[in-house]
């Protein structure tokens, strides 16, 4: 695609082929031109971005190391704290909150490497959705077809990267909220192992399986961002103490000694043919014929729904008591319903989670990477996500979009959604799934597929 990825841009800035200041000005101008249509940014941080760009240019001029992402613009889903502005989390109510005093940990990690935060991005209210049809801030439009959703809940993140506004955006993923917009917008989305990247300074949704991660237009950008953000953080109680290992040096290792299979059964039904064909194309390009079945994925999704509803509701219980009328109509009833789930069902779901985790661990004894569709369909039309036909059945579309993502994030598995190259057609993603802590392996496979041209991010036609 024409816009450089983050790694190429940082190299240009370090080599003085372009300045950070020029880069930021170009990005701000492009946001000004496209955001009124795409509606992915909720706050643009022009002053901060210009100040940070001047700092990067000064370091480059002085001959000091400006960092691996020197001058690279990035943006974050608006549930990440940004010092000086209120953290919206997609809510009108949170606009009333005082400004955050400190950037979220993930932002600090990228900024320390020279990346420049340019703004915050639209999302479903409190991350409870897959479409970013936010009633308060308006729907984010898919850059590949402005009449369609960008996916959610990190829809602003997917759209901003797809539209070429920023090469990297951060999102969060509880049930698919990085991977669904990555699929619909035709970009890469990466949800690492639960606890691998600190969530400190973010508004949680369902803490049992909230993750943060990057969306980008290249695999090496995913790896670069991940390597900077991964690692322990005492400010996040679920962040792992496990030592980190850089993934970028692993990207060129190829597929050597990797056992790869395609997810069968549940993951091969309930989807439109083109979603299954995209998965088959990825598998075919790797010569993968082996098939494996996750144990009871339908029940895993059910458990994810029960725990999400209970934890999400509890997170916002006081506001539901006092300000329910100010919630987004698309989330309000579900948040209220979550408060009324009997404890016995929530604990049953958590016990099932432990059982499922063990069975999936057993499955991964004989396979390293599993290929599965990300979404069961292409992006649906804005305003028509209530009921519709997917996979030959009439389904509640919004909820159905998490069909293939929920059973995976539910037990914290690392997953990459890759955009399959489908020239002239709407984007669709395919997931690479691995056992916990196998990020490097997944990125190796994604990098190999990107190099062969099977997956890759393509610029939306109307932005050419």
């Amino acid at each position: 695609m024409s816009a450089p990825d983050a790694c190429a841009l940082a190299a240009d800035i370090r080599a003085r082929r372009v300045s950070a200041r020029e880069t930021v000005e170009a990005v701000l101008a492009r946001i000004g031109a496209l955001n009124p249509t795409v509606n992915c940014f909720t706050d643009v941080l022009a002053d901060r971005a210009r100040r940070d760009a001047a700092g990067v240019d000064a370091r480059v001029a002085a001959g000091s190391n400006p960092g691996p992402l020197a001058g690279v613009p990035f943006a974050v889903k608006n549930l990440f704290d940004v010092a000086g502005i209120s953290t919206l989390a997609g809510s009108r109510l949170y606009r009333e909150r005082p400004p955050a005093v400190r950037d979220a940990a993930a932002i600090r990690a990228l900024a320390a490497a020279g990346a420049i935060l340019v703004g915050t991005l639209n999302m479903d209210e409190f991350a409870y959705g897959f479409t970013t049809e936010n009633s308060h801030y308006g729907p984010t439009r898919n850059p590949h077809d402005l009449t369609r959703v960008a996916g959610g809940s990190s829809g602003g993140s997917g759209a901003a990267v797809a539209a070429g506004l920023v090469p990297i955006a951060l999102g969060s993923d509880t049930n698919g909220s990085i991977r669904v917009p990555a699929s619909f917008c035709g970009v890469f989305g990466f949800k690492p192992t639960y606890g691998r990247i600190s969530r400190a300074g973010t508004v949680l949704f369902a803490g049992s399986f909230d993750h943060v991660g990057p969306l980008a237009r290249s695999v090496r950008d995913l790896a670069a961002a991940f390597d900077l953000m991964q690692g322990p953080d005492q400010d996040d109680p679920v962040c792992s103490e496990r030592p980190t290992s850089a993934t970028t040096p692993e990207l060129a290792r190829g597929l050597e000694n990797l056992r790869i299979a395609v997810a069968d059964g549940y993951f091969a039904t309930g989807a439109d043919p083109e979603a299954l064909e995209a998965t088959a194309e990825v598998a075919g390009s790797l010569g993968v014929t082996r098939r494996v079945a996750f144990p009871e994925p339908q029940r895993a999704r059910a458990a994810a729904m029960v725990i999400t509803a209970a934890e999400g509701s509890h997170q916002h219980l006081e506001l539901l008591r006092t300000r329910a009328a100010d919630f987004d109509p698309l989330t309000r009833d579900r948040f209220l319903a979550g408060a009324f789930i009997p404890a016995a069902l929530v604990l049953r779901a958590q016990r099932f989670r432990a059982w499922y985790r063990e069975r999936v661990r057993e499955m991964f004894q004989s396979v390293d990477v599993v290929i599965a569709p990300t979404t069961p369909c292409v992006a649906p039309f804005i305003g028509k996500t209530d009921w519709g036909r997917v996979g030959g059945f009439e389904v509640p579309v919004r909820a159905h979009l998490g069909l293939f993502t929920q059973p995976l994030s539910f037990i914290g598995l690392p997953v990459i959604s890759m955009p399959v190259v489908r020239n002239g057609q709407l984007p669709l993603g395919v997931q690479l799934v691995g056992p916990p802590w196998s990020e490097a392996r997944l990125l190796r496979v994604a990098s190999t597929l990107e190099a062969t041209g099977v997956v890759g991010s393509r610029e939306p036609p109307h932005h050419a």
């Binding site: 049992s208 009871e296 339908q298 029940r299 999704r301 059910a302 458990a303 729904m305 029960v306 509803a309 219980l317 539901l320 008591r321 329910a324 009328a325 309000r332 009833d333 579900r334 209220l336 319903a337 979550g338 408060a339 009324f340 789930i341 069902l345 604990l347 049953r348 779901a349 958590q350 016990r351 099932f352 989670r353 432990a354 059982w355 985790r357």
Partner: protein, 62 residues
Amino acid sequence: MAFDRAAAASLVDVLSGVLTLPVDAAYREGVTEHIVRLLTVAALLTEFPLPEEVEVAPVFHP
């Protein structure tokens, strides 16, 4: 397995009082619909036999 909508509506009414979580009349039908959906999917879990020794997933580390 589908749950009785009237029973779900009663659940909302009772627990709304117990939890001091008022549900406006305008939202009651929608909330009830979602309770029915949640109870329906939760049946996939209650009907599934789990070994007694399986503990809940989150483990508290003192």
